[in-house]
Symmetry: D2
Subunit: 172 residues, 4 copies
Amino acid sequence: MELNIILKNISSLENILNSEAVEDMINRILKANRIFIFGVGRSGYVGRCFAMRLIHLGLKAYFVGETVTPAYKKEDLLILISGSGKTEAVINVAKKAKKINNNIIAVVCKYGDLHKLADLTITLDVKKSNYLPLGTAFEEKAMIFFDLIVAELMKRLNKSEDDLLNEHCNLL
Amino acid sequence: MELNIILKNISSLENILNSEAVEDMINRILKANRIFIFGVGRSGYVGRCFAMRLIHLGLKAYFVGETVTPAYKKEDLLILISGSGKTEAVINVAKKAKKINNNIIAVVCKYGDLHKLADLTITLDVKKSNYLPLGTAFEEKAMIFFDLIVAELMKRLNKSEDDLLNEHCNLL
Amino acid sequence: MELNIILKNISSLENILNSEAVEDMINRILKANRIFIFGVGRSGYVGRCFAMRLIHLGLKAYFVGETVTPAYKKEDLLILISGSGKTEAVINVAKKAKKINNNIIAVVCKYGDLHKLADLTITLDVKKSNYLPLGTAFEEKAMIFFDLIVAELMKRLNKSEDDLLNEHCNLL
Amino acid sequence: MELNIILKNISSLENILNSEAVEDMINRILKANRIFIFGVGRSGYVGRCFAMRLIHLGLKAYFVGETVTPAYKKEDLLILISGSGKTEAVINVAKKAKKINNNIIAVVCKYGDLHKLADLTITLDVKKSNYLPLGTAFEEKAMIFFDLIVAELMKRLNKSEDDLLNEHCNLL
């Protein structure tokens, strides 16, 4: 039963993929000097999965709070992930970035407060269930959403799987 | 098009959910003193998403390599995630654990070498595509797979969403 | 020259080790149900080094923001590390913890704002130099400070090096 | 008493700072395209502290296993940290890098097996004590050692504290 809800949530991504918002997001990613990503908890792990693929694509990406993340500058892009749109640690990062530029994308399930700080908000709404607790349904949909963005970036950047493999961690 | 492949991959989880292997996995989780999880890269982030939910369920879980992970002992369970079944860092962890007990679960896409060290292997096979590069299709399916295990654990442990919220990080 | 400054900074720890504040800190650690630690950047890595030793000592310790960190509860202790005493992410964690209990220790170089939220503040002041940039001198002193706390905890808990080794990560 | 041992261990860094080995290390850092760093446990946190400062210096640095770490290539440098020189996870990384280039630096307390894979080995020997358990004395000395390397790099790169601040994380 949970599986059916999950499948419905994910299949509804079809509607969003050709939206103007997603086109705007892709263009911002391609134009940015560097892409900074942040989220807390499982949303953060979804964000890290995306950041890793951006690196494989040959783009410059960082996850806020990790060792080698440099200062955020005017030409950079910030992508924030929060199901509730209310995670305070995420909002605080948005506030700091807002002083530097107007290039903040929020990927949320509910508007919360984050959308007020974001320059572009992508809403991934989901049907929940008692046994897809807390942000589960959103996090799953967000994971697939970002993978589909990667697919689109591969096409636009004309990258093959081998190109990605060539940038993949080779020491572990 | 990628979305269709993803949906097919995930919907095929239905077959595995009622398998003896998954029943064995759930019983090992419920019986273990502590559950250790490991994977590299995006598989590692999928594993961390699962570890986090085990904590919310009130179980004792650790991700190998993180700050507070203690010594692995006889009564513990190790769950390893590797699409190729060949990730060396994962195999090395398996070898070390194998000297301590016979309670190692491998969640893989292909058998690789990992299944030889594992006491139980769950295979999540996927259809790939050029634009679901490297382990993408497996990682997505593994993410949903573990979330469905969480759903099942909630039922068996008689836990509500509020119970999980009560153990959820409250300082960020 | 930098080495001399570092040595002076560290040797001044002698004065603080027998202070009432440190005695208070040790007692809070021994009495707490679980010890939560947080800091950002290099202070965070110093904190993780300490958290790891607490685990080796057989205590229950967590680093805020890591995978398996559960909800902070009344009987827990929070130790925050910030050279400036002004790191916003640290202050935000303090604010959230303050609603739950009055058991917050701040380890700082300068008072900043953090001490207002802390129930106990340990000040590690340092002489700086142009070539010990940013928080370097503080972070070094904090690293040694926490190691000396570990030494004291070993004595009070009657733990040997072998006891610690027995809890040390054995899968990597 | 532990404090005295620590101070002696650290003060002995004076002898090594002007050694040919350290001069070689600094030149390799300045010449490398990118600097990859790895260590396990507390040695890993010391390595991350160093990686962070390399970023602040405007160099390209990565910690192996983190989200945005790309493939290791011929023109890169690998710095490994292991007190025992025997940590298997570290040795496995060295073996993989060895197939790519001969630019591996080992920072160790004891030779172990790591020095056989390294192209340059820096030995930081320490006096231990019962209450500086496991790698404590080495990790402290390594932390200060790397900070002194940072001091030297600042001088050679003609960088001020403000230059470093300009690259420092500004979103937390």
